[in-house]
């Protein structure tokens, strides 16, 4: 069994599962701790550094951090990481003085950004403070991308979006709104040192089943329909609406239709309810607003009768899974007709690059996606970079932001004539002791056993009457502080020093979670890890999680700490008579560089 390499940040970052799961590696526990201390502005700025849109993401992030939260290993629900981000945004003070200063003297490099979604804006945010000139082309009249055109205002108020876009635009972006780029070849001739393409995945899929052409007046692509609603081209919905698809777009379509006057809204999806792509909380909110979700139904025909559109016919299907978890749908033969006046199709979206000429050296793969280096996001044309939905198909805002950081690093290297891969900077890190006194820590080491708090919202009957009123009210301060205290401070690491350990076993005796083990290793028979793991206090380890393995101690034993369910309560360090354990906070100085 190999000793853990503690000379780089990798082991430690992996222990902070929420941060590790966040595509932008937002220092989650750090900002939650600041919230717990009511230092909202600082909490906001920590977020702003990594994820650029804390107010937006604190409302609508897909929150990959939450399923990763270590709290779920010791109780039912994760920390409400996402909604605590909103707390930082709601309670912060004016942040202008904390924003980076923009050099008057530019570095003479000009960068073009295509599309004003979160990916491009992150690139702008990262490059402007370095002295770059940034020129933005956006075909819509305003910035924001799908955050403005598709995500409904009842989930993300326009004021919140505008505020966070302005922090960036006011840094001195040269904006060309209402200007669509129709030829990359032409843009390549303009004097830009690099071009970033953040045009998203704007092309919604149709569902071409029988009856499609005749019924076309009654069928709309969900994302286009949503855009029309946000740009006020569509202001009402008919009485009966069917939504096809089970993702978050479907959820936004049905909830919006309800608000525009539809009284019978039915979402039908081929998968089972549990397998629907929409986040569980989106499904719950839709149902709370009186929307019917009908799983296990596959659309087979748009039904026209007597020249009139009647509705959609579905076949009931059953999902079954093979041992690899792959799903197959089996038709049951049973069909139903769901009558309606409008069908919203929310079955997926694609990138669209008709404006990129195929003879300019920019390579595409067989799915018509640009060929990219996954880490640098550089295309086969050295000066062209991609990010966000345009790079690898539809994802989410936080992925677009993470891509923006990666691309900004690459563009900066490229403009200095460096290699975007080989010369990539590595993040520096530091482990800082949190010791204040013999048994005092600078973080709240006591464990809260409270359950997750629900975010207050306006009454559901009110909610469905208002198109642009935000449903969620956010945590009040009391709830916020209680929720913040649930965080286990996973970035405050148990760091072990084998040279000062006297093997008194105090740490392994006190640990509430059976993390710590002192193990005899027999040089002859303990060659493989399995035999060693069999000697741990809890032998059934979680293979996804790291073990912290020390070099040999004085008696020849080794210390193995299973990081899996550590509460970071600090009792091991409090009980250690020699300070061989310390609680140290992981500080990474260039988080962007950790995104790989």
């Amino acid at each position: 069994m190999k000793n853990t390499d503690t000379s780089s940040y990798q082991h430690f970052l992996k222990v902070v599962d929420c941060q590790h799961a966040c595509p932008a590696h937002t220092p989650v526990p750090e900002y939650i701790r600041l919230i717990a201390e009511k230092r909202y502005t600082e909490a906001y700025m920590i977020n702003w550094q990594s994820n650029v849109f804390p107010g937006v993401l604190g409302r609508v992030c897909d929150r990959p951090c939450e399923p990763a939260c270590r709290r779920t290993r010791v109780e039912a629900e994760p920390v409400a990481i996402c909604r605590l981000k909103r707390v930082a945004s709601d309670y912060k003070e004016d942040i202008y003085s904390y924003l980076p200063s923009i050099p008057q003297q530019k570095n003479t490099k000009r960068i073009a950004l295509i599309g004003a979604g979160p990916a491009s804006l992150t690139v702008a945010r990262d490059l402007l403070p370095l002295g770059y000139e940034v020129v933005l082309y956006e075909r819509d009249a305003k910035a924001g991308g799908m955050m403005r055109s598709q995500i409904p205002a009842f989930r993300l108020p326009e004021t919140v979006l505008d505020e966070e876009l302005n922090y960036i635009l006011q840094m001195g972006v040269e904006c060309h709104f209402g200007e669509e780029i129709t030829s990359l070849a032409k843009l390549l001739q303009a004097k830009f040192d690099a071009i970033f393409i953040g045009t998203g995945a704007p092309s919604g899929r149709w569902l071409e089943i029988p009856g499609h052409d005749l019924a076309s007046d009654h069928i709309k692509v969900g994302i286009n329909w949503l855009a029309n609603v946000s740009f006020k081209h569509t202001e009402e919905a008919p009485k009966r609406v069917v939504v096809l698809g089970g993702g978050n777009t479907a959820m936004d379509c049905c909830r919006t239709a309800k608000r525009l006057g539809a009284s019978e809204v039915n979402v039908l999806v081929r998968s089972s309810f549990d397998a629907m792509k929409a986040s569980p909380w989106e499904k719950a909110d839709a149902q709370a607003e009186g929307i019917t979700i009908t799983p296990d139904h596959s659309p087979i025909e748009y039904v026209i009768s007597g020249g009139k559109f009647i509705g959609v016919r579905f076949e009931k299907v059953a999902s079954s899974y093979d041992e690899h978890g792959k799903r197959t749908l089996r038709a049951t033969g049973e069909t139903i007709l769901v009558e309606c006046d409008l069908v919203l199709v929310a079955v997926g979206q694609d990138t669209a690059f008709p404006w990129i000429e195929r003879d300019i050296g920019l390579k595409f793969n067989k799915w018509q996606q640009p060929t990219l280096n996954k880490e640098t996001l550089q295309s086969s044309l050295a000066q062209v970079f991609f990010g966000g939905d345009a790079a690898f198909g539809p994802e989410n805002i936080i992925t677009a932001v993470a891509n923006g950081h990666q691309a900004a690093i690459s563009i900066d290297l490229f403009c200095q004539g460096k290699d975007t891969q080989q010369d990539r900077p590595e993040a520096g890190f530091n482990l800082v002791s949190q010791k204040m006194g013999i048994h005092d820590w600078s973080y709240q080491s006591g464990i809260s056993h409270e359950q997750r708090h629900q975010v207050p919202h306006i009454a559901w009957e009110e909610a469905v009457k208002q198109l642009n009123t935000e449903v969620e009210l956010g945590f009040d301060e009391k709830l916020a502080l209680e929720e913040a205290h649930r965080c286990l401070n996973c970035d405050v690491h148990t760091v072990f020093n084998e040279n000062t350990c006297i093997e008194c076993s105090a740490c392994d005796d006190i640990c509430p979670m059976d993390c710590i083990n002192f193990v005899d290793v027999d040089q002859h028979s303990d060659k493989n890890a399995e035999q060693i793991i069999d000697k741990l206090r809890v032998k059934e380890i979680n293979p996804q999680q790291e073990l912290l393995v020390s070099p040999a101690l004085k008696t020849g034993r080794i210390m193995i700490k299973d990081e899996d369910v550590c509460l970071h309560c600090g009792l091991c360090a409090e009980r250690c008579p020699t300070g061989a354990w310390d609680m140290k906070k992981l500080m990474i100085d260039n988080i962007g560089a950790t995104i790989k």
Binding site: R73, V74, E75, H439, D440, S445, G446, I447, H449, I502, E503, C504, S505, A506, D509, I510, P512, M513, D514, V538, E540, K554, T555, V565, L567, C569, G570, L571, E574, R575, C576, P577, T578
Partner: protein, 350 residues
Amino acid sequence: MSYQKSSFYHPRLPVNDLGLTYRDYEGALSTLCAGCGHDAITSAIVQACFELSLPPHQVAKMSGIGCSSKAPNYFLNKSHGFNSVHGRMPSVTTGANLANRDLTYLAMSGDGDSASIGLGQFAHVVRRQLNMLYVVANNGVYGLTKGQLAATADKGVTNKGGELSLFSDIDLCVMALQLGATFVARSFSGDKKQLVPLIKAAMSHQGFAFIDIVSPCVTFNNHASSTRSYDYVHEHITTAAVTDFIPVKTEITSDCQAGVCEDICLHDGSLMRIHKLQADYDTKNAMKAINDIESHKQKGEILTGLFYLDPNGESFHDVNNSSDTPLNQLKQEVLCPGNRVLSSINDSFR
């Protein structure tokens, strides 16, 4: 400072026959010094009771005064307990055992509590063969009163304050062997692999069981010139045999080779399996055990392990032929049968 240990526990923690995890056998959060050997003993007791599936309410924790005697507060918080006067735990335990012979008596004392002020009490409770486990946490000092030398300290050592040990040490294992204890062992707080099976066997044993556990006082007796420091003990500890405890219900799969292995059947049907490291190792010979202890001591070694075991020895209630029903369960009329019975007893003496 954390005054609380989280009630969260490892989701894959094993449960015993009673459906309890080892966490159900814990007590209050220890207030002993960080790194005190006594906390490791606590944790070995918790583990042993958990593995034995002892119903906590059928255990009585007995102690005197000292850091070691505080330790029962830190384990088995669902059990009975009595924290007696300094050195008087044996008398109180005798009384309790007389009243209720059905409880499992687990006594924890210190070398000060047992080898100084309580030496007389110690000697008599061994001699009395009370059915109990008597544990001494041996750290060579009076920890609670800031590190004065205990009577167990080796002659010639100095304590942290520089005080010289002028007299030869009292070895409580040797005394227990001389006075007729039927289970005698020595162990080290830092060696749970040895300690936990010994505690389990001692608690299953019928009769007086004694375990002297070397338990470093990290605050007052862990300096370079100490013979009870972690480093000294790690370097000088040795054993003649490795003991396993095999509970009644466990099917025995590996065989026990004569000469190197020996199975001893305890009163309740459980087994102590002994893997000999020294060919002449013998659990039936108290004289030899005393010899071995002393000769290792002369070599500067601390001999640990099971020294002596007589699984069929008599205990106090056998000797006295006392009632099988615990006295506390007998009705008033039976306990105090009145004048008629008294006069018939008196008549028998005439």
